[in-house]
Amino acid sequence: MPARRAAIEPAQLRSACESARARNERLVALWGSDETARSGGFALHLALAGRSGLAWLTVALAREHPRYPGIADIFPSANRMQRAAYDLVGIHAQDSPDHRKWLRHRAWPGGSFPLRKDFDLASRFPASDDRYPYVKVEGEGVHEIPVGPVHAGTIEPGHFRFSIVGEKILRLEERLGYKHKGIEKRFESMTLADGARLAGRISGDSTVAFAWAYAMAAEGASSTQPPRRALVLRAILLEIERIANHLGDLGYLGNDVALAFGFYQFWRLKEDLLRLCAELFGHRYLMDFVVPGGVARDLSSRGAERLLERLASIQTEVASLRSIYDEHAGAQDRFIMTGQVTPELADRLGLCGMAGRASGIGRDLRVDYPVPPYEQLDVRIATQTRGDVAARAAVRFDEFAESLRLIRALVARLEPGEIKVPLATAAGGRCGIGWTEGWRGDVLVALETADGGRIHRLHPHDPSWQNWPLLERAVMGNIVPDFPLINKSFNLSYSGHDL
């Protein structure tokens, strides 16, 4: 993984961000850590993606009143991350226009910070008041519709507050954090080996992406080199995960425009794939397959053949389903120009991943910084420029086809060999970075070790952090009944965001 780490002074933070922004670099993640036991203070961390790779910048902050100059005006996606870093670590972004809490609701009181080392994982607090100042929209004929956290369909919990005039959405305000279950704190009670299982459950639909990023970070911190065959198998599974999710979403996009046919067809195909995964890899969603040091199971050549056969038959059916979708006037009418994010807005606010590619942001880790085995594959990026539901559906169809091509190429490159080496023991104070292109976008895991093969701090970052704020923009001017369709077309993670 092309990554470098640098320490900078708080006074240099804004200029470093401004020049990164001017070079068209993007903010991947921002988080805080408690270093009081090691260096006497706290720290702010930033991951920036530049042309040559990832830069991990660390800013040392004072023990008393830890603060730093906010950067949300330079990188708008930093806003919620800065607020989360305050809720969890108690480091304060100065001069930021938005100081509302973000991940903290009722579980712990203001002034307590779960990711500080003196905060016990098992702490209990009486449920506190949860006053959250939503932005008020006023004007003639403006109504508010609050929805959630428990929704009408089978989706994860979050709160959406719509301000509407007639049927039209004037504004949407999201509130997330309902699923916060202490994942980062729990990692700190684990060894590198134990953490893999938890990493694979940060966001269940992206288990391979997170488990691989975790393994990459653990391997980096302990200088362990996983065998080539394991890397090829990981990539095969990452592409299967992309295919399975795209199939499911394409089905739901049909369902949400009253084309239940699409739901049943795509979910039948997805089920066929999941069942084969259970047979070949021991798990329908591929959990616990990627482990630090390699992978947990091998794929026989007969198994690989069966996988390719199954994928070939799915491909034939998807080709005819695509033409049915394309020619279905009712579906296209609902898809086109619905929930649009223009390339200009996407670039300004930092839309990333699959949704970014549908809005003309041509970034994909598999293309931009291909780690083995992707360096041999010449991944073809799928992009659209219209940024609407139709574009996000089209990117999914194209990526489905490309993932199939990649799996064929990867199977052809599967050479006999080991699938796992023991994870070397990492000394305390080592760091590692894992960065993978999951189906939703780039997943990052930043790790620092403690003594005894344990975790000092682990920050997993889901691309939904960047994309949730764009959903608020995408729905503006659309009608309320199109919200489920637009939301589905992004299909962002709650669990991966709330942690």
Binding site: P149, I183, Y264
Partner: protein, 174 residues
Amino acid sequence: MYQLLKQIAKTGIVTEPAPHADEALRQLAQRLSEVVLRHFGRALAIRHVDAGSCNGCELEIHAANSPYYNLEGLGIKFVASPRHADLLLVTGPVARNMEQALRRTYDATPEPKLVVAIGDCGCDGGVFGESYASCGRVGNVIPVDVAVPGCPPAPAAILQGILTAVSAGAQGFR
């Protein structure tokens, strides 16, 4: 349109037989009367509540709606409001930030009602356990009739849990 009909005809009916109830999953003795269960057995309205899952269990609930399982054919229907529900299907450990919403959803569900907890997390807190942010298993927050282990449990297991909840259990009536 022709292509669409052709695809439907080509696919045919893929639904598989439903699993049987499994008493081992039951947490509380059956409280509901034979009359109620007879109705539930034919037309069961389910409200799903994600109380803090990793989203893996949701994937399997979606998959249970695929044509292989044909839930509606068994009289099972997912409804949009707890007020219309007979049974709550709860996933995840209960995040403390969801504790109140889960209680309220339970209270809003009319009696007689049943609760099925889904997944290792719903059964015992799973990998997330109990902490400052997680209440652990669903049973720590609301009464659970049936709990279905698995990470995540496959669609057939979820279906089995639901069918167990509406079966007579030790009461023995049919």
